[in-house]
């Protein structure tokens, strides 16, 4: 089977120790997590994990099932890149002494649509929001000028392109099934 980039979106209760359980499943399959982002979700009290990994579909499906099996995980679904809108954020700290003599660097920054958020006489900090590829490309460009003092990028965050909100539907169904069985 072919390896691809998959994004796994997991919703879980907001309990201590769950992150460990989620990542442990990847460890068991010896699959590297490329990026991981944990945040609040649109549903109060639920956490959302956005995890990217390069693997084959069979493995990501098994991983998703095993994660979903954890008692306090609500759902785990995997997506290919065309099934999601995804973004990352990167921060670059650039050396000023070099940057100011290099107008080309400034041109690259604006070409890539990055924003300057701090300028002083020692360094410049820029923020770039975009796809993984755009951020990698910008990083590579800037590296050519030997100006990058620090570089950091966030995990991927993603929302699905689908019209259905699986998690909300799942939770509603759980509630209504429960009410049904407990009336009779």
């Amino acid at each position: 089977m072919e390896n691809k980039s998959y994004t796994l979106i997991v919703h879980s209760e907001n309990f201590a120790g769950l992150l460990n359980q989620v990542t442990a499943v990847f460890t068991r399959f010896q699959i590297n997590i490329d990026s991981l982002n944990v945040s609040a979700s649109s549903i109060p009290g639920l956490h959302k994990y956005t995890i990217t990994a390069c693997t084959d579909e069979e493995s990501i499906e098994k991983i998703a099932r095993l994660i979903e099996k954890k008692v306090d995980v609500i759902s785990a679904h995997y997506f290919t890149d065309d099934q999601i809108f995804s973004y990352e954020v990167a921060l670059f700290k650039l050396s000023m002494s070099e940057a100011h003599i290099e107008p080309k660097v400034l041109r690259i920054i604006s070409q890539y649509g990055a924003n300057i958020v701090e300028v002083n006489n020692v360094f410049v900090v820029i923020v770039k929001t975009g796809t993984s590829e755009e951020i990698t490309a910008l990083h590579e460009e800037l590296q050519k000028y030997h100006v990058v003092l620090q570089f950091v990028r966030s995990g991927r965050v993603a929302v699905t392109t689908s019209y259905y909100e699986k998690v909300n539907e799942f939770l509603e169904k759980r509630e209504s099934d429960y009410r049904l069985t407990h009336k009779s």
Binding site: G17, Q21, A24, R28, E58, K69, S75, R174, E175
Partner: protein, 577 residues
């Protein structure tokens, strides 16, 4: 944490102002617990104090915490209820880890309650602090630290709900000492809904009709019966299912007592040391129907050569089992009690006499080459098989079989017979030596009216030998049949077959077992010759209470037939020249 669970409080109950430890005891009672296997220590002393003088809970003091976990497993497997064990923090807790892992892989519902240092000292390397939740998370369905007395009733209710529902499994409650000592307003509590946890996936009507259609159109169907049928209390539904469509059936190690041994459709055990016929027919059938089993590698052998010709239908309650190792054509997820009934309703009456006839040559071949020589040996020393067979017959095949691990286990599985469900307790997925003795103790408490026969090797008996103490104190009527071959026999067999007879650390010097038994006041008898066997078994069964029967069997007997590891499952070795 509890906010989204559905919690039921006992109607009209008034809150009781008690300690967390007392709340634990009340919660266990409220769950219907009658028996606990445990061992005290510093961090669980408030709970032991609350147990003092308690008349409802029968606390069985084991001699090692590993045994508490296995006894809880044996209790759970024999009774169908959740087994409970109670231990202290640190080493007390880590001693249960093997039992927890064993319960996880064999889907056995147990709740392990361990003491923990006070919440205020957590993370400070306090005396007997270990990160039990961290250690047990990968080997439990749920592992939770109770840090506040107000959590106790809910956590216990949730623990029992999770352990016992859906695909059963172990739950750990790590009970911080401050939470044991603090006061709380206790209310009898039940949990029956955890929103992220779907114990029973919904039945899919399309899958039901596809499964029925495949079975109805099948000329050569073959069924694999697993432990899940007993766990799902679906034995009757299963029998109706196979008998309506006339489906010959093989069983996994843990599923051996699903069907009575004399059911005409029961073709016996699957897998590495199973029946030749079940493995051959797995690879000949046109439709393979697996119910409540997980295609363990000991059942499948080489995966790529496993039933490549067959359409496969898989009934399971756990969606994560579907396509895990074997790709299936129809997945029937859900509670097999319901799914089996639904499929059965769509089945036409079947008659597969011709197909079943084709089973006979393989049964005969194995009988001639393997079974007959094992049960009626011409050699001087007794074989394990003849001892097992004689015990099974002497109990009219009605006893609960408990095994340890090794040759004793495989041969007991092959030659013991069953008349009712929940009659085999064995460590399948984990293969835990030392499981047998404590599990058998647990079974005597679960089923005081049944005879409990343990077959155990000289290696495995010594892995939890200290439990003779528990047996002595409780007069637990375990019939211990020690199959003594003076070897770690199973490993020796592999060394003989695959490692040039290099008997690397498998011969073992043994103590005088009857002398040990006698030190514990356990009646015993050693049998060297087959002429004494029947009488010794009689003596064992007629003796009230525990008994040790040491059968000195041939030293280098082999378990046959055998599919070598990594070979196609139907390529069985029947004799070693």
């Amino acid at each position: 944490m509890k906010s989204k669970d559905k919690i039921q409080y006992e109607k009209d109950a008034k809150p009781l102002r008690i300690t967390g430890a007392e709340a634990l005891i009340r919660s266990l009672e409220y769950q219907g617990v009658k028996t606990i296997f445990g061992y005290p220590g510093g961090a669980i002393m408030p709970v032991y104090d609350a147990l003092y003088g308690n008349k409802t809970l029968n606390h069985i003091l084991v001699r090692h915490e590993q045994a508490a976990a296995h006894a809880a497993e044996g209790f759970a497997r024999a009774s169908g209820e959740v087994g409970v064990c109670l231990v202290t923090s640190g080493p007390g807790a880590t001693n249960t880890v093997t039992g927890i892992a064993d319960a996880m892989i064999d889907s056995t519902p147990i709740v392990v309650i361990a003491g923990q240092v006070a919440a205020s000292t957590l993370g400070m390397d306090a005396f007997q602090e270990v990160d039990l939740v961290g250690i047990t998370q990968p080997i439990t369905k749920w592992s939770y630290q109770i840090r506040s007395a107000t959590d106790v009733a809910w956590a216990v209710a949730r623990a029992f709900y999770i352990a016992g529902s859906g695909r059963p499994g172990p739950v750990v409650l790590d009970f911080a000492k401050n939470a044991q000592l603090d006061m709380t307003d206790y209310l009898p509590t039940k949990v029956d809904f955890v929103r992220g946890y779907v114990p029973e996936p919904e039945m899919d009507d399309d899958a039901i009709s596809e499964a029925a259609q495949l079975i109805n159109n099948s000329k050569h169907p073959f069924v694999l019966a697993g432990h899940g049928i007993e766990l799902g209390n679906a034995v009757e539904e299963f029998k109706t299912f196979i008998h309506k469509a006339d489906l010959p059936t093989g069983a996994t190690l843990l599923g051996l007592s699903v069907l009575p041994s004399d059911d005409p459709l029961n073709m016996g055990m699957l897998g590495m040391h199973g029946k030749l016929v079940t493995n051959v027919k797995t690879n000949e059938c046109d439709v393979l129907i697996a119910v409540g089993m997980r295609f363990d590698d000991r059942v499948t052998g080489k995966l790529s050569a496993y039933a490549p010709q067959a359409k496969i239908v898989h009934f399971d309650i756990d969606p994560a089992e579907i396509n895990k190792s074997i790709h299936v054509d129809v997945a029937v997820v859900g509670d097999c009690r319901k799914t089996l009934a639904a499929v059965t309703a769509l089945l036409s009456q079947g008659d597969h006499s011709e197909w079943k006839k084709s089973f006979e040559p393989y049964i005969k071949k194995e009988n001639d080459k393997v079974v007959h020589p094992e049960l009626h040996p011409s050699k001087e020393f007794m074989t394990m098989g003849e001892v097992i067979n004689a015990v099974s017959e002497a109990t009219s095949h009605k006893a609960i079989l408990v095994t340890d691990v090794g040759q004793n286990q495989m041969l007991a599985a092959r030659y013991f017979k069953y008349s009712s469900p929940r009659s085999i307790l064995t460590s399948g997925g984990a293969g835990t030596m030392g499981y047998g003795l404590p599990a058998a103790i647990g079974a005597t408490f679960a089923c005081p009216d049944r005879t409990v026969c343990l077959f155990v090797g000289d290696g495995g008996l010594q892995m939890n030998l200290q439990e003779f103490g528990t047996i002595m104190e409780q007069r637990a009527p375990v019939k211990i049949i020690l199959l003594n071959n003076n070897f770690l026999g199973n490993v020796r067999q592999w060394q003989a077959m695959f490692f040039n007879h290099h008997y690397s650390f498998t011969p073992m010097m043994n103590p005088e077992y009857p002398a040990i038994a006698s030190a514990y006041g356990i009646a015993s008898r050693r049998v060297m010759k087959r002429e004494e066997l029947a009488e010794a078994i009689d003596e064992m069964l007629c003796t009230d209470g525990p008994f040790l029967l040491e059968a000195c069997v041939e030293q280098e007997g082999n378990v046959l037939p055998m599919t070598p590891p990594g070979s196609p499952i139907d390529q069985m070795i029947l004799e070693i020249k």
